[in-house]
């Protein structure tokens, strides 16, 4: 019985779904085609539906089967936590689970957009929803929104003091829920049993402070590792035990961007204004840097890889394309005036760059620069887009949007 439950909680990765941060392959790429390249949220062009959100948050929507799920927070100091499920075809709310936050540092409020405590993207499996809030509340709900298990990492391990709030999303792999909690006073990587929530292992990340990058699972030499970026360092941990296998000092101080994995190669960037670095994970005796770009990388948006091309944008809206094998620059062009916060996504030979002002610039995923369309939304967007079954899902400041034919 336990085995059945465990299997049911494993992630269901299908090309048509977008069940976690950065999609089915955790790299911002959809293998599907047929997504719209043009829309206009102001005029209502290609807007299939648009629904209000229960609160603030920068986490992306996740899509699996008929469900679209987002997390949000609201109320004074954002102490009300929400997991909201919508029908993917109509946008009609299906269920909402509200939680009371563990008392936490108030969300950082100096610069817009409003952040709240829902910066992490939840993970969906066939049977469960895993959500992590900046208050340290980690919950597993069933697909009807009913609780399976709940934990307060703040209550267990102390208040999370990240000056901007934690943002790394949970990752589900091999029956584990993995959460990277990097903050000012005692960073750690935690693996909880997906079925029960119980800790399988917890590894302290000494000398690591505020970071926001989501870890990625890699397989090197037949062994699964989870790779974390943080405070100048890339580190690999054995997935089964949590023991640190290697580390490499190749980054800047603040790590917001989720790395991209292609086989046994990992592509990472950090900020402020860091270089993109390509890492050979299979190198012996330990991973090594293959190439390093000029120091003009992004601070917040992660990069996206299509074939042998590496696309990214800096935070001011200048996009670049590099040769994945050498790091050589193919093009570098300004694509907009808005600040860039969401990470780009790619599908059907296009890369979608969304700016904080809500404008998505679609370019050809090619070695030559070509803008296909500029699509206004009429609403600020700080969350990255999700792609599923021919629709682009965008989480705006106030609404969840479904854009498609």
């Amino acid at each position: 019985m336990k085995r059945v439950i465990l299997l049911a909680l494993l992630p269901v990765i299908a090309a048509a779904d977008w069940p976690q941060w950065r999609g089915p392959t955790a790299d911002g790429v959809s293998a599907e085609t047929g997504f719209p390249v043009e829309w206009d949220g102001v005029k209502g062009t290609k807007v299939r539906w648009k629904v209000p959100l229960p609160g603030a948050g920068n986490g992306s929507p996740v899509v699996l089967g008929d469900d679209v799920i987002v997390t949000a927070t609201s109320g004074r100091h954002h102490s009300e936590l929400h997991v909201q499920c919508y029908d993917r075809a109509t946008g009609k709310p299906k269920w909402q689970t509200d939680l009371t936050a563990t008392p936490a540092d108030a969300p950082f409020s100096m610069f817009p957009p409003e952040r709240g405590h829902a910066a992490s993207t939840p993970v969906l499996t066939k049977k469960a929803v895993f959500a992590l809030f900046g208050t340290g509340d980690l919950v597993c709900l069933d697909r009807a929104g009913k609780p399976v298990w709940m934990r307060s990492l703040t209550k267990e391990y102390g208040i999370i003091r990240n000056d901007y709030g934690i943002a790394a999303s949970p990752v589900v792999a091999d029956g584990l829920v993995l959460v990277q909690v990097d903050h000012l006073e005692g960073s750690y990587l935690l693996a909880a049993d997906a079925a029960t929530g119980k800790t399988k292992w917890k590894t302290a990340r000494t000398g690591v402070y505020d970071n926001w990058a989501t870890p990625v699972v890699v397989t090197v030499g037949g062994v699964k590792q989870i790779v974390c970026l943080g405070t100048k360092t890339i580190a690999g941990y054995d997935l089964a035990t949590g023991k640190q296998a290697w580390s490499l000092d190749a980054l800047e101080r603040l790590c917001s961007c989720t790395p991209v994995v292609r086989g046994d190669k990992l592509f990472a960037v950090s900020g402020p204004s860091g270089a993109n670095v390509a890492i050979d994970l299979a190198a012996r005796p330990s991973p090594k840097v293959m190439w390093q770009s000029k120091k003009n990388g992004p601070f917040v948006p992660s990069a996206v890889v299509v074939d042998d091309l590496y696309f990214f944008t800096d935070d001011q809206g200048t996009a670049s394309c590099l040769d994945l094998k050498t790091g050589a620059e193919k093009w570098r062009e300004r694509i907009g005036s808005g600040r860039m916060r969401p990470s780009p996504v790619a599908a059907g030979g296009h890369v979608y760059f969304t700016a904080l002002d809500g404008t998505t610039t679609v370019v050809k995923a090619a070695a030559g620069f070509e803008v296909v369309a500029k699509n206004p939304l009429g609403e600020e967007v700080a969350a990255s887009a999700s792609l599923s079954r021919g629709c682009v899902f965008l989480r705006g400041g106030k609404h969840l949007w479904c854009l498609g034919k």
């Binding site: 109320g75 004074r76 102490s79 009300e80 909402q96 689970t97 509200d98 939680l99 009371t100 936050a101 563990t102 540092d105 108030a106 950082f108 409020s109 509340d137 919950v139 009913k146 609780p147 399976v148 298990w149 709940m150 934990r151 307060s152 703040t154 209550k155 003091r161 000056d163 000012l184 006073e185 029960t196 929530g197 119980k198 402070y209 505020d210 101080r253 402020p272 204004s273």
Partner: protein, 368 residues
């Protein structure tokens, strides 16, 4: 017939209530077995209205996980059976300032879903409420933004005394000041405004974290210490009256010459008082109250100034109490702030009750 009905109700509801009590007790101390928790949760949801008020009255104040097991059971029923909600009882509970704040909020949310607009109607009367006070203030700030200037000032004046949250008090005070008023932020929020400061002690940030200096063992305003460019002496410092922050650099204590500074103050309580010491600083801060360490944040890594970030419950006797702070800078980072900008080195300390309301105290004139 009436007696028979009563008998039947008691006969059939008594076992339900007993079960409800058992399941609430189970979820108030969640099991290590999630399946057992879920079974109790399912039974509670099935029990419906008889479980609602008992859940609220049993709210586990110190266990967020237990609170959420109970809350999600409450909400599950409240969302799906809105016609059966005991609305008046829930409203009475939500209005009781002695009940647990988060439970009151859950009760009010349930009523709000059934009777939209209830919260907006109630908030103006809850300016001084321990749970909903900040919500009421936020609602009044919004109302002031929409009002013409004279009316806006009137609204802001009526609520300044009710603000307990620094961010809200700053907004209200700033607008009142612009309208010609003189709101006293320092007194209102219990900010400790008069200090003596000394430093920087010529030490690296790393050594500064490990090392103790003479002010920690003997406080003497006349003492002098060795500094990088001569003797270090205590000097009087006052907080910015608009925000309550003390900027060490404004009083000659700059991080270029060392990483450690001290600040000392005396507060006088009219009677023995339990207070929440609330403080924040750029980077590190350690606080002693009457010689006893109350708060310590000591890290090689920087920290932003965040109002009320660190808190400790302390008991202050009637009369004088001594506050001593050690402030330790971290090493400057490659990219931080505007190039050439002076590094900030400031702190804020206030004495409040557990809801953030400033407590009354005085400080001696002309001495620490």
């Amino acid at each position: 017939m009436f007696r028979l009905s009563i008998f039947m109700v008691v006969l059939f509801t008594a076992p339900v209530l007993a079960g409800v009590r058992e399941d609430i007790a189970a979820l108030k101390n969640p099991s290590a077995d999630p399946e057992a928790n879920r079974a109790a949760w399912d039974r509670l949801v099935a029990a419906g209205p008889p479980a609602m008020l008992p859940i609220l009255h049993t709210w586990p104040a110190d266990d967020p996980v237990a609170a959420n097991w109970l809350r999600t059971a409450f909400d599950q029923f409240a969302r799906t059976h809105t016609e059966k909600l005991p609305v008046e009882e829930l409203l009475a509970f939500a209005a009781d300032p002695k009940a647990h704040g988060k439970a009151r909020r859950v009760a009010l949310s349930a009523v709000e879903r059934t009777r939209p607009g209830t919260t907006v109607k109630l908030l103006p009367g809850w300016l001084n409420d321990p749970e909903f006070g900040p919500d009421a203030v936020a609602e009044r700030i919004t109302a002031a933004e929409a009002a013409e200037p004279t009316e806006a000032t009137r609204i802001l004046r009526t609520m300044f005394a009710a603000t307990t949250d620094i961010d809200q008090a700053l907004v209200v005070a700033k607008r009142l000041t612009a309208a010609g008023d003189k709101p006293d932020m320092v007194k209102h929020l219990g900010m400790v405004g008069r200090w003596h400061v000394v430093g920087p002690f010529p030490v690296s940030p790393e050594d500064g974290l490990k090392q103790s200096f003479p002010p920690e063992t003997k406080f003497d305003l006349a003492a002098e210490y060795e500094g990088k460019a001569g003797k270090l002496k205590w000097s009087a410092a006052t907080c910015d009256p608009a925000e309550g922050r003390v900027d060490l650099a404004k009083f000659g204590v700059k991080p270029d010459d060392g990483a450690v500074a001290y600040a000392a103050a005396t507060v006088i309580m009219p009677s023995p008082t339990k207070v929440e010491l609330r403080l924040s600083a750029v980077d590190n801060i350690t606080a002693w109250v009457n010689g006893k360490k109350a708060v310590e944040r000591a890290s090689e890594y920087r920290s932003m100034y965040r109002p009320d970030r660190y808190r400790a419950a302390v008991e202050l006797p009637a009369g004088e109490s001594a506050l001593l702070l050690k402030l330790t800078k971290t090493r400057p980072e490659e990219v931080r702030g505007r190039p050439g900008a002076t590094a900030k080195w400031d702190f804020l300390v206030r004495l409040a009750d557990d809801k953030g309301r400033g407590v009354a105290f005085t400080q001696p004139e002309g001495k620490k």
